[in-house]
Point group: C2
Chain length 142, copies 2
């Protein structure tokens, strides 16, 4: 009963509610979600973060679909995941994940696997714009 | 910056969006949520589950507040959690948790701690109503 309902890379704002609605299934007793947002500070930054610019490699869509499918299969889960690219302001959601599974163990594991795989494998880079006018490229895992 | 924004035991339907809105904070880069729903089957049940009746001990509200405060403090998190009682139909949310933290590790850990503590400690019991007319009490941890 595993399935990927959304696996999307897009410049549009991401709505958690759309992802939670997409995974709804009466056979599933547990739902988890994760939202990763642009924070207003970074311990490594010279000044406050004002925005981030995300850039995706052309292979990123295929990679995100594979990450979602792998987690769905491994945990018998229903998955919806989106990564936003382009310029994001502080507070904007960069990643949204929603997962439904029969029980909470699988639901947490699938959600966690997806964000860790995104950080490790997804070819999306971010350029951090800071209040003092500097900009720094941040690799995967940030 | 840890805080408990909602810690509620109520007979009213629980809305995830209310909980997600309650934990919103620009200092927090990661948000997690958990929803536990009444499933339409149980491997131990004689027939399909048609509904559950949840009953809370009078101390349950105090216990839920303590669980929420402990997780918020331990992980520097902002927490919103509700447990519904009374009669719930298949698909209804029995527990909703939303957590915001600086990073994903703390956000996942706080959310997981809260649901495990609820299952282990919260004095709420459920009576499972099955399609064949039988009813079975289920203890904590179900």
């Amino acid at each position: 009963m595993s399935a990927v309902r959304i696996a999307r890379i897009s410049e549009e704002p991401i709505r958690l509610a759309e992802h939670v609605d997409a995974i709804d299934d009466p056979r599933m007793g547990a739902e988890t979600s994760f939202v990763g947002r642009v924070r207003d500070h970074d311990p490594d930054a010279a000044g406050a973060v004002t925005a981030l610019e995300y850039t995706a490699h052309p292979d990123a869509q295929t990679a995100l679909s594979a990450i979602a499918a792998r987690a769905a299969e491994a945990h018998g889960a229903i998955v919806a995941v989106s990564h936003r690219i382009g310029r994001l302001e502080v507070g904007d959601a960069a990643v949204v994940i929603a997962v439904a599974a029969a029980h909470r163990g699988e639901a947490f594991a699938a959600c966690r696997d997806i964000i860790e795989d995104i950080k490790r494998e997804l070819p999306v880079w971010k350029r951090q714009l800071e209040a003092d006018g500097t900009a720094a490229w941040k690799g995967l895992g940030g």
